[in-house]
Symmetry: C2
Subunit: 365 residues, 2 copies
Amino acid sequence: MPMQLNRRDVMRAMVSGAVSLAFAQGTFAQHGPPPGKIALRFNENPYGPSASALKAAAKALEMGAYYPISITDDLLNAISTKNGVALENMVLSSGSNEALQAAFVAWGKKGKVLLPALTYTDHIAYSIRMGVELVTVPLAKDMSIDLEAMAAAVDDGVSLVYICNPNNPTGMALDGDLLRHFCRTVGKKATVIIDEAYNELTDEPDYTSMIDLVREDENVVVMRTFSKIFGMAGLRVGYGMARPDLASIISGHVMAWPNGPGLAAAYASYNDDEFIRFSRAKVIEGRNMVNETFRKNGIEPLPSQANFVYADIGRNATLFQKRMNERDILIRGSFELYPNYSRVSMGKLEDLETFDRVFTEVYNS
Amino acid sequence: MPMQLNRRDVMRAMVSGAVSLAFAQGTFAQHGPPPGKIALRFNENPYGPSASALKAAAKALEMGAYYPISITDDLLNAISTKNGVALENMVLSSGSNEALQAAFVAWGKKGKVLLPALTYTDHIAYSIRMGVELVTVPLAKDMSIDLEAMAAAVDDGVSLVYICNPNNPTGMALDGDLLRHFCRTVGKKATVIIDEAYNELTDEPDYTSMIDLVREDENVVVMRTFSKIFGMAGLRVGYGMARPDLASIISGHVMAWPNGPGLAAAYASYNDDEFIRFSRAKVIEGRNMVNETFRKNGIEPLPSQANFVYADIGRNATLFQKRMNERDILIRGSFELYPNYSRVSMGKLEDLETFDRVFTEVYNS
């Protein structure tokens, strides 16, 4: 079976030369998907960055000679104000993945990290390299994160519990109040880190978010990113909010300082409510289209509240991925224990129309 | 005595809220030096980014929704080709500081890290937080790095030796062949990491660089950055070159993926020889001006081959920094063991003319 690469693996492999030029396709300084391909593979959001972000980032570029000091401060203030937390609660990182890695490494020194058996993995690969001890808990039968089993698995050796909500690759969101109860209870024994990368795309973002627990000084870390609803995956800005002692540990382990244009774009987008509404609407429209593609082919996708859809296609997903790739549509193949599940990320609506046509052809041929 | 902040401290302090808004000066989304101030404090190079870099980064911004996969590959290929090394020799990071931190943490697991008592410190603060054991060796009498004493200090417990060449804050460069001999000898016992952040500004960049030792598979890591001669400090791209086994260790510890606009700018600049010549000439012209300012005030600066000048001004440098700051010129104050040494970074030539006038007034009043 072909190796299933994630984004981080791609980067590492390129550094080590293993897949050199695999993505370059002969075009130098080419950005975005390989030419002629439709990329529905990495949960990117092609409706970003916003016009306001592009304008702000272009201005920051011109001052690219300088370390991005004041814009860092501006962004931290904007985020903390909007969320009703203090600057002491804030973590900033070059993509949320960096802060997740930092947290896993930091808490990994004190104990084991508990996580669902199927979840986001870019930071997991790093943590394994760093010798962090991981314990996984199987998903529930309906593919949701099994909070009861997770809570039961928190013994004295567990220092950190990782929950991605909505989960990746399933797209399924946990009920806000159930998760709140989980955090309050488990938080007495271990820190709970909630990866809310897709929060803004859920049915009820405020109810689904654990940010209120941060305000209440619970033992909880909320991670967010500008890569998803803000469509800034290439600009590498993420942030977290947590009790000051927890925030300080993560900030202390984060390695890189985010870049000026990314920070400026984040700052310009963060309160751009019109863009946020637009981006959310487009993603949801796309999600409905992909759900419909699956359903009309007799496949019931998992109920996604994110910008990707995960479905049991009844056949090997990596082989199917290869056939779709031959038709210039890049989707994901099998994840770990679920060989027959396929993940499709949102693209522009016109690209999802192409996806619908090609998927239906390939699936039925 | 006022606290002497470095850039990293500034960021950490802002995250923790301690100096919130200190740099914002009431202007939101302001980039570069505080309004009305001349910044000669962080070894930035205001002659960058190049026009080619700005153009390429602007294009990358528009594709900011996507993870910067192909441009990462392009940049790695360009750097490895120019330096006659393989992709397996390459390390990429969000600023060279990140890769330095990664290396200190990685080698710190195996032993102590040896470094000069006065050198670049942003990664040192991180390493101390991570529990890395550091051993320092005093500078020689002439303020150069004491290679003999460093070599003598490499015992079985030392895993990594850090040399910044030219050194920061002194600006002094070690002789290339002396350093080559040091690397070959010491490399039998410990890995030697050479921070060549300012290499392109030295009198003889090729002779001063240890890149030939990387090509010869010596136990040497060469770190470089786009922050200095390329004038891209705000865009956060650094790189390293080393034997594949060493490069792989560092890449494995690096946390963040560099941003698309930064990578595109780096790629566009890297072979822009006209800009490199221009940037180097401006920095050297500025350095001569600052040397002249010191000398006409009876101060003999250390012989700098970088974009900053370090000089014993015969009085407390932090108090002097404060007086210069009141006149809207930001320079550095005392570093550690050298309270009377002042460091001045290059700015635009017109700003250095202002510096000359204000320095002379403040120094003699």
